[in-house]
Symmetry: C2
Subunit: 162 residues, 2 copies
């Protein structure tokens, strides 16, 4: 794995995301890394990230797939262009489409591993396929279609203080 997470390269303005922003003290602050051709993130849900007793809330799993997907899309694009992740102009992606298949109930109380591969990369979009495992068993698979961030979002105002 690389030492610095994809998300740690995001500028301060783009580091407030509830799923992966290092500046969001309320959020999940997930960290994604390369592991060869795959990217990986590990996240242990909080006890209150519950669906029903003993199992993880599906919305959290969707959230992890979403943020790990957009982070992987950016990292893969830098890599394809032969650029360092701290080079300019910065590349940021948003999710155009998110699909999650829940294959088995996901146990609460253990770390979840989210692994992704990039199945398509074009100048406009990146398709990322993911799987979420707990205790070595695949609990969910997902796909994120990530697109370059639109200008309307890049021009957004600064966040309110929390």
């Amino acid at each position: 794995m690389t030492e610095k997470a994809f998300q740690d390269y995001y500028s301060e303005k783009f580091s407030h995301c509830y799923g992966c922003g290092r500046k969001n003290e309320h959020g999940h602050q997930i960290k994604s890394y390369w592991d060869g051709e795959e990217s990986v993130a590990v996240y242990e849900p909080e006890p209150y990230h519950i669906a029903i007793p003993g199992f993880v809330y599906g919305g959290l799993i969707a959230s992890l797939i979403d943020c790990h997907g957009t982070g992987t899309a950016a990292a893969a694009t830098y890599r394809e262009q032969g650029r360092a992740m701290d080079s300019e102009p910065a590349l940021r992606f948003v999710t155009a489409s998110l699909k999650v298949d829940f294959l088995a109930p996901t146990p609460l109380g253990v770390p979840l591993e989210i692994r992704a591969t990039v199945s398509q990369i074009t100048p406009k979009k990146v398709v990322v396929d993911e799987k979420v495992t707990a205790n070595g068993k695949i609990c969910a698979t997902g796909q994120v279609i990530a697109v370059k961030m639109p200008d309307s979002m890049l021009a957004g105002k600064e966040p309110q203080s929390r």
Copy 2:
């Protein structure tokens, strides 16, 4: 609309969900109601449910679609069976598949309305189509394929105290 939300009929054991459980003080506690043939929920994201400055985090939108979808699946099944929602045996659904298309950036700071219709209902699954609007504009559409809760989840242990 009906007076009592779908989620308010869930037994205590099944009221801890981070998305819609009335007993989860950390969670979203969304409330879904019938409005004719559609179901509707309204949720105003917190300032920290941010993606980038000014816009809502997509994982939250996926979560709202997820929980509103499973709640609607249960309510629609009770309705189709001509049963009151507090009648036994209780019907609970989980998400087999979740799909979200993000059509436009979702502004932060206004209530989001989630509306759903049931496009398919069989003994084993319910397909729920949804749209999320902010300021009257559709920001996302989604589909939940909800299935009857498996026995392995129904037999889950009680949640830890938080």
